[in-house]
Subunit: 384 residues, 2 copies
Amino acid sequence: MRNFTYFNPVKIVFGKGSIASLSRLLPGNTKLMIIYGGGSIKKNGVYDQVTQALSGREWVEFSGIESNPEYETCKKALEMVKSENVDFLLAIGGGSVIDATKFIAAASMAGDEDTWKIMTGEYRIKAALPFGTILTLPGTGSEMNNGSVISRRATKEKLPFMNNRVFPQFSILDPETTYSLPKIQIANGIADAYVHVVEQYLTYPEHAPLQDRQSEGILLTLMEEAKKILKSPRDYDARANIMWCAANALNGLVACGVAQDWTTHMIGHELTAHFGLDHAQSLTIMLPALLRHQKENKEAKLIQYAKRIFRIDGEDKTALTDKAIDDTETFFKSLGLKTRLSECGITLKDTAFIPEKMCRAGFKFGEKGRIGIKELEEILDLAK
Amino acid sequence: MRNFTYFNPVKIVFGKGSIASLSRLLPGNTKLMIIYGGGSIKKNGVYDQVTQALSGREWVEFSGIESNPEYETCKKALEMVKSENVDFLLAIGGGSVIDATKFIAAASMAGDEDTWKIMTGEYRIKAALPFGTILTLPGTGSEMNNGSVISRRATKEKLPFMNNRVFPQFSILDPETTYSLPKIQIANGIADAYVHVVEQYLTYPEHAPLQDRQSEGILLTLMEEAKKILKSPRDYDARANIMWCAANALNGLVACGVAQDWTTHMIGHELTAHFGLDHAQSLTIMLPALLRHQKENKEAKLIQYAKRIFRIDGEDKTALTDKAIDDTETFFKSLGLKTRLSECGITLKDTAFIPEKMCRAGFKFGEKGRIGIKELEEILDLAK
């Protein structure tokens, strides 16, 4: 096992009715700003539950955070934080709203800096406004980690940052808030969480059997519960299990002491930034292609994945790995998601610029740094 | 799934050589007190590594914390905290040293209170000195939770307390510090961690498949790695995996949203307080007896345990549950641990006072509160 540091101070308050605990979770005597997206929380009752819990407090609101949250929108929120002297943020929504809130929290304390430098790493975060979250769309895991991804449409960039100062102080996870989600958003969330785990699991053996089993536990549960939720959308336990799986998929635990390969996410970010693909769909397209390309490098873990996740029997290594990758793609399709670029009208010619852009400054990808321009071209070809 | 709150802010620094990170983990400008046990850390090099990392800092030391740490010893440490104006504690050892340090941390801030009231719950902890830990004996999980168990030999009491103010700020887990442990201490630690998981897992189904798999992952890994460590004591990965399993066994994660049954630990505490049994041995004696007594109440989970942990096939429910319990006892024996009271020279007559003592004030045990005086008598009989 590799050496590692694990730290995750987010307080999770989980279960039906848990938005009512907001009043005791919030510090007293703060000027609060609630941040949300397009207004679905006004239709599904979440907004009413929140404003009721905020009764007697001083608060303002900022709405309009879009999917793949936009830098320019965050800057508008930032102006409101300053003009209203806000000192606590409350994100209400999915990963996009939470990611935006993390950026706003850090940018609020960055003085006169060009805040895009938070994303490029040129500015090192020294402080951030405290904030909490109410999750209404599980998938990204942002409610229980210190990461955020922000897009800048003007320059077609989509960049991540991570910093311990942007862990939420608390996150409220009420599975009942997800009943009103469109089916595609549920499917996207399941796929996103699934791919998060795979990227921390399908590398090479690190003699970390507990972490392997924690990963496999999430993958198996996501697959089982996905079936249930598609059949019975009001199945509370299925909603709850998917919500808890998504948080566990990217809270740092399954990454402890093991290699990771985030190539799928990094290609996916480019596809979203340039072609507007849903984040999850960019992953369900790229993961099978990546695995097919890397099946020799990942063979030992792919065989374990074949046997433990898809219960595939046999001794033929190639048959095992091929079938496991096919089954992964089949699972994504069963969620109603696309798995090929062509299904989105994207051609190889369209994506031709991606490998070089990703490898600027000699950067390489994969758990052993073996994926460069040529390999990215081949992976995109496998996804066509 | 039940509603739950999960919060665990302990920073874990894991791996070989990690004691060197102590200097950056400690806050600057503190008066430190290191707390340890019988002095084994002076023989295995840990004390030297620590004092090297503390170079340039002001610190004092308190040694002599015993197994099942004693209230009177903690009070002596408390006097030193006050006389030396200590403001940060560093526990170096196993669960006993860490538990003692948690008590000392809380008692230091309790003013003129009778500090035993921390244990009885009559005094509510309002603050605690900050502290870190260096774990040298995995098992109790105290390095990654907010619980502590303190004994008072004068009154033959052994009581637990839990409070969020006694989470360690950090815990350093270097598997190499465990190489010098006697075999019995390794075995005890494995058994303790195993029983912790079972007590959060073997109740009744709560539709929490991820938590089940996280539990099963720990149980399977503990069994596999126990075999390796007994055969090859210098197997670093086996040491590391057992150390990480023990932390995960009682850090709150597998308890999320599920029923629990701590009867085994509560009877075990009485056996240790009155007859001086090793904590782990009290558990390996009581768990099989508890499971045999409760096999109808726990049937559904016992069958899952039989199939997933011991790979027992078949449809006969009684055969599955009986075999799973027998296999559990066999596992404990394979570690060289006792599983019957008679092996420790304890008779049923000796333990006759326990059921009534445990059930004072009408308290009942078990995940459904179905275990009272009569049932405890029967369980002790099954353990004879």
